[in-house]
Symmetry: C2
Subunit: 294 residues, 2 copies
């Protein structure tokens, strides 16, 4: 049966000066229909986790070259930026996400105008709801947070494990039913959360630890929280901590224009997709690069 | 006389799971040679600070359209990613940094292969050591951390204020004389630190608060530390804090190949520069977009 491993854990850590934006990065392994072993990376995180991703791959006995498939739950900056590390992989993304990434809304701060240039650095295969990647690993369409958000349902020995991306950022969202960050469609986002709960035994959120919903509706985390902060300490003067339980749902200003713009930009997006120069070079095993920040 | 304002403060905050990588973003204002008022942005930060940058500009009575010049101290991911917010601006960057950004070293985790595609989204003007941007604002060549790192020396009422980028990440570097992160040349990086100390009354580091060196060689910060963290608290089980005073200097594996590769890649870089499609659209005043992370 296919397996799910956490390569980089997701965190809900935020600050009032910027977003660390550490999403979960997952390794799904299993045989394809022909029985060949496959290494599927789900999301790639942003550049600030690049050395950590190299280390995590090595700890799993893999180099970047061994990843044959990268599945992108969505094209937001904190999930897509390290795809260039895997030039031997095919990039699996939803067609709506791909098209949108080439002409994002001006207020969509999580999808810079240049996102499409980055996406096309790997050969892209568009995938939609219900598509089987390998036996026991299926695409789950989860639009709302973004136009083409998807999840992966993996039939593991522990049951149906769903990697949700930011269709479900944090475990608490499973109890509130509301997506805290909506860039595309709030109602769709709410339905996508319901869909996740419907099909999942175990949930791997976009920015939180994997969990099960207990019989009483409570959250049973399957992994402990572990994070070490350097550069500040709890006694650093001027360092404060604020409660962040169940944030209010934020909806992007101008979201009502999204569908009309998406249609209006269709030709523009297709033209751009065809014109992106490929600058990523053949894979080369990277040496461990950390520690220290850029 | 020209002035320097902090739009986004720089922080040395790190974690063992990834780098928040919050660099300083600065606003330099003053009249050009013709007496016209100019708004110069120095560094743009990464996407995780985009809504905060919009807010900071608004707090200074500016929209993205009002920025006529973006100076890039270097092309690392955490300094360059928001330049697409300023389509009315010319991008000022050192020719060595620009060329390198199109063919970065495979181990240079701070400069993804796609960095050049991002750089060319604005009209670029290459600038070198000694060049005057406006009267009282001069480029300072500071190679070593990266091939074409530069600073800006601004003749303010408070004296010569130097915006250093990551030629000097943290105040303590002014006392150790060693750059903690070297991607290009360690000796050059050391000389660049000396050059900063030589020409500066006030120093605006890449990832720390502005400071003066006291007569006794101590550090006099000019601004208090202020950061609020949400999502975790000092009592969160599994959250730890580690000391980070004066990190050891990290030198990129493979750095000895850098010069030879730079020359070898010269034609390739020039070809790539000429082929980047411009996808950034005419400026549009963004509405405030925070809070909540991507």
């Amino acid at each position: 049966m296919p397996t799910v491993d956490i390569l980089l854990p997701g965190f809900g850590l935020d600050t009032d000066q910027g977003y660390p934006a550490f999403c979960g990065v997952f390794l799904v392994r299993g045989p394809d229909a022909a029985g060949r072993p496959r290494n599927i990376l789900v999301d790639a995180a942003h550049v600030g986790r690049r050395p950590f991703l190299w280390t995590a791959l090595a700890e799993h006995g893999l180099s970047a070259d061994d990843i044959d498939t990268v599945v992108l739950t969505h094209a937001h900056w904190d999930h897509v930026q390290n795809i260039d590390l895997f030039p031997s992989a095919t990039l699996l993304v939803h067609p709506d996400e791909r098209r949108y990434a080439h002409t994002p809304h001006a207020n969509d701060w999580a999808t810079p105008a240049w996102t499409g240039l980055l996406l096309e650095q790997l050969p892209v295969r568009e995938v939609t709801d219900g598509e089987e990647i390998i036996p026991g690993v299926e695409v789950l369409g989860l639009p709302g947070h973004s136009p083409g958000s998807i999840g992966l349902v993996v039939r593991t020995e522990a049951g149906r494990a769903t990697i949700t991306g930011d269709a479900l950022h944090f475990a608490y969202v499973a109890t509130t039913g509301r997506n805290p960050l909506v860039f595309w469609d709030a109602d769709q986002a709410e339905r996508s959360i319901g869909r996740i709960l419907e099909v999942s035994d175990v949930i791997y959120p976009g920015h939180d630890r994997p969990f099960r919903l207990a019989a009483d509706g409570g959250i049973d985390y399957l992994a402990p929280f572990a994070l070490t902060v350097t550069g500040v300490g709890p006694d650093t003067p001027g360092l404060g901590f604020a409660d962040s339980s169940a944030r209010p749902s934020w909806v992007m200003p101008g979201i009502q224009e999204q569908r009309a713009l998406y249609e209006k930009n269709a030709d523009d997006s297709r033209r751009r997709i065809s014109r992106v120069p490929r600058v990523v070079r053949p894979a080369r095993a990277p040496r461990a690069a950390g520690p220290g920040s850029g």
